[in-house]
């Protein structure tokens, strides 16, 4: 055990955890931030994506020691009122079916829109290829990302 300093969604936390604990466990079990989901556990599905210093990392294989003194953002911290352009678009397009993958999808899409504010289909496909949706809502996900790009542009 060791004390790890984490900054999650803008709040500082000092946690006494094994440094090799996956970040996902810490988020869900220690901090009750359960919006981030456990999917495959081997970085193959994208359900657990969070932002670590702005990168879309997979928290199921990221040891908590790697996140020490870095900025972590989860789906709970993506926007103050749940109104990030992607969250608005997700609701408007009614993207989710079962919804299990959506926090990971949105967190990945947020990095995409930050890097490419108005992405083309091909760019969306490349960026989202690591996020699996077993319900097969890919076309709605792509549509929502286009819509979110528009909302983001309007609100700037």
């Amino acid at each position: 055990m060791a004390t790890i300093n984490l900054k999650i969604n803008g709040k500082q936390h000092a946690l006494d955890v094994d440094p090799s604990t996956p970040l996902l466990w810490v988020l869900r079990e220690h901090l009750n931030l359960v919006g981030t989901k456990y999917g495959c556990g081997v970085a193959a599905c994208g359900a657990c994506v969070v932002h670590l210093d702005g990168e879309a990392v997979r928290s199921c294989v990221t040891k908590v020691k790697r996140a020490a003194d870095k900025e972590v953002v989860t789906i709970e911290g993506l926007s103050e009122k749940g109104d990030h352009p992607l969250q608005q678009a997700w609701q408007q397009v009614d993207v989710p079916q079962c919804g299990y993958c959506q926090s990971g999808q949105i967190m990945s899409a947020a990095v995409l829109l930050r890097e490419i504010p108005n992405p083309m289909d091909e760019e969306i496909d490349l960026a989202m290829a690591g996020n699996i949706c077993r319900c097969g809502t890919y076309l709605r996900i792509r549509k929502a990302i286009h819509l979110a790009a528009g909302i983001q542009q309007e609100t700037k």
Binding site: V42, A43, A44, V49, E55, A56, V57, R58, V61, T62, K63, R66, S108, A109, V111, L112, E115, I116, E123, L126, A127, M128, A129, G130, N131
Partner: protein, 218 residues
């Protein structure tokens, strides 16, 4: 007259001996110069590949490269030196799941950066992401493709600074101990090792380079 004639005849062998002695001294001197310049020249080969300055032994060099090639074409090496823009995966070198792209710096793009999944160390368990602190592919402007290369093509590519990441002899030798290269011998659970040990590979690598870095004929 007889005396004189005999005297002249007796002097000839003496002249030949003197001439041979002078020749021997000159040759010794020249060999000494060549040897000295050779010794001095061997050092610069550490810094720059110059075939004329290296010890040349094509048989030894080519034999060593065949060992090097067997390692470089193993999945642990070739998987991150693909011909395309997507890394390979597994002992059968299939395309990496999720089709992550190389990107400009070889570290992926957008949401699909190598380090988003590949940690500074192997993740425990089978079918988990392998890891090393600087996990990446060669960059887009110097892809250093291994996949599909013949022994000759690969050898020529490795010694060409315009295709090898601007590596000189010293950098090439040092590359055998690169952390990511050495990962190949500690690849984590469920991954086969290269056909030689790292020690054997390094020996063959240095033997190949220091004996002229000859490319095989095919």
């Amino acid at each position: 007259m007889r005396y004189n004639t005999r005297h002249k005849k007796e002097k000839r062998p003496y002249k030949i001996v003197v001439a041979l002695a002078v020749l021997a001294i000159i040759m010794t001197f020249m060999v000494s110069i060549a040897a000295n310049s050779g010794t001095a020249a061997l050092r610069p080969t550490e810094d720059k590949i110059t075939h004329e300055l290296m010890k040349r032994d094509s048989m030894k060099s080519v034999a060593a490269f065949s060992k090097v090639y067997s390692v470089l074409m193993s999945p642990r090496c070739v998987n991150c030196h693909p011909a395309g823009e997507v890394p390979l995966q597994g002992d059968d070198s299939h395309l990496h799941a999720m089709l992550p792209q190389r990107g400009k710096d070889g570290k992926g793009i957008l949401t699909m950066k190598c380090a988003n999944c590949h940690q500074p160390e192997n993740t425990p368990g089978t079918h988990t992401p392998p890891g090393s602190p600087n996990w990446h592919l060669p960059p887009a402007d110097m892809k250093m493709v291994f996949e599909g290369r013949s022994p000759r093509e690969l050898a020529m590519q490795i010694i060409d600074p315009e295709k090898n990441g601007n590596k000189d002899m010293k950098a090439l030798i040092a590359h055998a101990d690169d952390e990511l290269v050495k990962w190949g011998w500690q690849p984590g659970e469920g991954r086969t090792l290269p056909p030689l040990s790292h020690k054997e590979f390094k020996e063959a690598w240095i033997t190949w380079l220091k004996n002229g870095a000859y490319a095989p004929s095919n």
